[in-house]
């Protein structure tokens, strides 16, 4: 490997990138756009569930029960109605997600110590949101019931012999359980994977298509020198994207970074090598820009979104698909970034992931060098 030749290729690639607004846009503007778009739009949190109430009881007890919902940040009271028909219309129009029906005998039953059933109607068409909303409703109900029991036992007699189990949850790491904190680190991984592979997938193919490669392969330039030189500018773009992403996370989305920034960068370098080398390998094998970018899209974008655990938890996938996720590089980087961002763990914990990425990177690079032939077919 001659450094002079690697530097020459790198310099020329930098010029290509800087003189082509499209590739500069693809390398920097698109990642930032995705980051903001997903950062703002993609939230799995369910709060302020619109709730409709039909209070048939109209007693101090029922009002107190309703206020428990209305006063919570998880619900907003969207209105009061007097018929099932109105509830149906409101749910059809998506004005509300949930309706609470309190029967006439609610207060009477409570006062006699009997079970007081209430009805909860849910729009199950978005099952995920409905499940979460149901959980909130159950929690609110049981908390209110407990208060009622304690109140009554204090008023009417001795405190019950058996205590009531009282769970005091304490959330570690993502203390506020904001889903954005969880999504954002994964988002960085997905964006870097897609952009890195997509950018490099074009570079070698473009030279074959425009005819500059035929000139280049009659020179003493070696395959490894060409590959190293072509990686350098895209490495720089990848690092720039990473710095911008970390800054955006800090300033716009208040994503806490608990772990070491240096570890984050070191891991990103390993991952970038994998992603860039993978794109380059595609470019070398296909020799065709359109085919290369399509293959890069399908083999990086889809797995990075669907199989990396970025949105859909890997634990919930069927076992064969779980097995497949083990060869998805983005999976490891999503885990690494989340652990560094949210848990602040060190290299000791992340060593297996880092080792896998390093091995993958070396293998792909070696393949790229081997597959690059200085011959016209």
């Amino acid at each position: 490997m001659k450094l002079q030749r690697v530097a020459a290729v790198a310099r020329k690639e930098f010029i290509h990138v800087f003189r082509d607004p499209r590739s500069l846009g693809m390398g920097i503007a698109i990642p930032m756009l995705l980051l903001f778009l997903f950062g703002y739009a993609l939230t799995l949190d369910v709060d302020r569930v619109p709730l409709m109430v039909w209070d048939q009881s109209a007693t101090p007890e029922s009002r107190d029960f309703i206020s428990r919902f209305a006063g919570s940040r998880y619900f907003t009271l969207a209105g009061r109605v007097g018929t099932y028909r109105e509830i149906e219309i409101a749910i059809d129009r998506r004005d509300v997600l949930m309706a609470l029906v309190i029967p006439t005998d609610f207060a009477r039953k409570l006062r006699t110590g009997a079970q007081a059933p209430v009805q909860l109607i849910l729009d199950g068409s978005d099952s995920n949101t409905a499940t979460i909303a149901l959980g909130y409703a159950e929690a609110a109900t049981s908390a209110w019931s407990r208060d009622v029991i304690l109140e009554q036992s204090r008023r009417f007699g001795p405190v019950p012999a058996a205590g009531i189990v009282d769970v005091r949850p304490r959330v570690w790491f993502n203390t506020d359980m904001v889903s954005r904190n969880y999504i954002f680190p994964g988002l960085i991984a997905v964006i870097m994977m897609v952009i890195a592979a997509l950018l490099t997938s074009l570079t070698v193919a473009r030279e074959w298509e425009t005819g500059t490669m035929e000139q280049l392969i009659t020179t003493p330039l070696r395959g490894a020198e060409l590959i190293a030189g072509k990686l350098i500018p895209y490495f720089a773009i990848g690092i720039l994207d990473l710095v911008l992403s970390v800054l955006v996370g800090d300033f716009f989305f208040d994503i806490p970074l608990r772990g070491s920034l240096w570890l984050l960068f070191a891991m990103s370098l390993i991952f970038l090598t994998c992603a860039l080398a993978f794109g380059l390998l595609i470019s070398i094998v296909t020799k065709n820009q359109r085919l290369a970018s399509q293959i890069a899209m399908v083999t990086t974008m889809l797995p990075a979104f669907l199989l990396s655990g970025f949105i859909f938890p890997i634990e919930n996938m069927p076992p064969p698909i779980q097995a497949v996720t083990h060869i998805i590089t983005a999976r490891y980087f999503v885990t690494i970034l989340r652990d560094i961002y949210l848990k602040g763990v060190g290299l000791g914990v992340l060593a297996p992931e880092a080792a896998f990425l390093a091995v993958f990177g070396v293998v792909v690079l070696a393949l790229a060098v081997k597959k690059f032939r200085k011959k016209v077919e």
Binding site: Q4, R11, D20, G211, T212, Q215, T219
Partner: protein
């Protein structure tokens, strides 16, 4: 030692034989022209000689280096200009030159002088900062040549270098080639232009992958059977149709505004032509024997090949 030798060099793509048993040699310092029409196998030959395509059969050596086994050391010694413009259109003239200087490992010292020399040599000095993509066709070819010469190669391969280049730039280009010959560089040029072939020391005529003849332009002219009669007439197209129909066994070709008729007996045929054309009412301005051009030779050799 010869600069280039090929032995039964053959390249097949499936059923198509692009180059068929090519055997030739080029002496050091020679200007060799490989002449043939499009699809004759010129580019394939070039690619095999420069080590970027492996032959199906046979072998070739350039400066003593085997083009397959020693392809990499070979590349240090040669310069190549592909038929398609092979430089970066989004890099300036100087950036392209510096890029290739780095690739060939030219030391910093003396590099600016070398680049300055190449630029002035190819009249590109005022365009150093222009993007290569914005150069005219002729300037692009001269820049390609300059890049191929940056490392002072011993053998230069040029694949149709003046294709689509205006006449003035073409003359410039050949002036540069002669200059290189004086410096002892071996030049192997593929061309479809026969007037350019006439400027070479030796010419190989290639057709459908086969080398039909290989000699100096003068000796190639000697290959002609018979003499050429040049017929001038205001209506060469009609005259050609007429003569092709009536003259038995002679080949008639149109060369611009005149006809070339190849014949063994100039006097007899001359009289016959006059009689035929006047009989049909076509004016004859003149009929005279002329020196055969390479084009006549190619037409004659090819028609011989076709009837054989």
């Amino acid at each position: 030692m010869d600069a280039i030798t090929t032995d039964n060099l053959t390249k097949r793509f499936g059923n198509l034989t692009a180059v068929d048993g090519l055997t030739l040699s080029v002496a050091p310092g020679e200007l060799f022209g490989l002449v043939g029409s499009d699809g004759a196998g010129k580019t394939t030959t070039m690619r095999m000689l420069t080590g970027i395509m492996d032959p199906t059969e046979g072998s070739a050596r350039v400066m003593g280096r085997h083009t397959v086994r020693e392809a990499e050391p070979l590349k240090e010694e040669i310069g190549y200009m592909s038929q398609r413009f092979g430089l970066y259109p989004d890099l300036t003239v100087l950036e392209n030159l510096h890029f290739y200087a780095d690739i060939y490992g030219l030391p910093r010292r003396g590099r600016d002088e070398k680049i300055g020399l190449l630029l002035s040599f190819s009249n590109l000095t005022p365009f150093g900062k222009r993007l290569a993509g914005n150069l005219s066709g002729g300037m692009k070819q001269k820049l390609g040549l300059a890049c191929a010469l940056i490392h002072t190669p011993k053998v230069l391969f040029l694949d149709e270098p003046t294709n689509g280049v205006d006449p003035v730039s073409r003359r410039d280009f050949w002036r540069i080639l002669y200059q290189l010959l004086r410096e002892g560089v071996t030049v192997f040029v593929a061309t479809a232009y026969l007037d350019e072939a006439d400027r070479c020391n030796r010419v190989g005529l290639i057709h459908r992958g086969k080398l039909l003849a290989c000699d100096t332009p003068d000796n190639l002219r000697g290959l002609m059977d018979g003499t050429i009669l040049e017929v001038r007439t205001p209506d060469p197209r009609r005259a050609a149709l007429l003569l092709r129909e009536r003259l038995e066994g002679e080949s008639v070709g149109i060369f611009g505004d005149r006809l070339h008729v190849v014949t063994r007996d100039a006097e007899e045929t001359g009289r016959a032509i006059k009689a035929i054309m006047e009989g049909a009412g076509v004016t004859v301005q003149s009929i005279r024997p002329v020196e055969p051009s390479l084009e006549d030779v190619l037409v004659s050799v090819l028609s011989g090949e076709a009837t054989r």
